[in-house]
């Protein structure tokens, strides 16, 4: 299995990730799953819609995965993001890493999600009962 998995998918099956990151040389696997939260600043969110510039997003995700592998001694890395309409509690992103010791995969996991949120061209629209809002678009 490849050391790096970078994907944009329609839906995420969180049960796959252990097998995908599992590795004989790893003593630890760290995973972050981002999910749809019901309330944003006190307002009830009905669903989220994710859109992407897929070609560029995959390139940016690939860079993040490669950079993480340069920064830390990792055996496997995954970055998988879902697009389309997502209901409350649905998983929308999974990032993770496996490494010989836990420090590397904990630090890498945080780097993967934080950098993804800064650079990967994916946009989230919050759908409320009577309005929709593109997140972070306006100051």
């Amino acid at each position: 299995m490849s050391r790096k998995i970078v994907e944009i998918v329609d839906s995420i099956d969180t049960s796959q990730v252990f097998t995908e990151l599992s590795d004989a040389h790893s003593g630890g696997i760290c995973v972050f799953v981002g999910t749809v939260r019901e309330f944003t600043q006190g307002e009830e969110v009905v669903s989220l819609e994710f859109e992407t510039y897929k070609k560029m997003a995959l390139m940016e995700m690939e860079k993040i995965a490669s950079d993480a592998m340069k920064k830390w001694k990792l055996n496997k890395v995954i970055i998988r993001h879902a697009v389309g309409l997502k209901k409350v509690e649905a998983p929308v992103v999974v990032v993770g890493a496996s490494s010989a010791h836990r420090d590397a995969c904990f630090d890498a996991c945080r780097y993967l999600i934080d950098t993804l949120k800064e650079t990967v061209p994916i946009w989230k629209k919050e759908m409320f009962e009577n309005k929709t809002v593109w997140v972070s678009a306006h100051p």
């Binding site: 981002g34 994710f50 859109e51 992407t52 510039y53 070609k55 560029m56 997003a57 390139m59 993001h81 929308v92 992103v93 999600i113 993804l116 949120k117 800064e118 650079t119 990967v120 061209p121 994916i122 946009w123 989230k124 629209k125 593109w134 997140v135 972070s136 678009a137 306006h138 100051p139």
Partner: protein, 80 residues
């Protein structure tokens, strides 16, 4: 020159691709394209910021644009 639009940029323009006429006013750099879009669609000026990607890579303001580049407006990203 075709400009790909995503997220709120698509809503501002009302479609997912915008064609900039190849006349004397055609923007020749990333900065010129940003100015052009704000002039044409003032709502771009209300965004927190927006970037331009040339051939699927973030491009600095001084990067020149060619008619056959793949150009995209990248409004503030919000994945994760």
């Amino acid at each position: 020159m075709d400009v790909l639009l995503f997220g709120i940029a698509k809503d501002i323009v009302g479609k997912s691709e915008f064609q900039v006429p190849m006349d004397d006013d055609v923007p020749k750099s990333v900065q010129a394209l940003k100015d052009y879009m704000i002039k044409k669609f003032p709502d771009f000026g209300k965004l927190s910021s927006f970037a331009v990607a040339v051939n699927s890579e973030y491009a600095q303001d001084d990067v020149p644009l060619n008619g056959n580049d793949e150009i995209a407006i990248i409004p503030p990203v919000s994945g994760g």
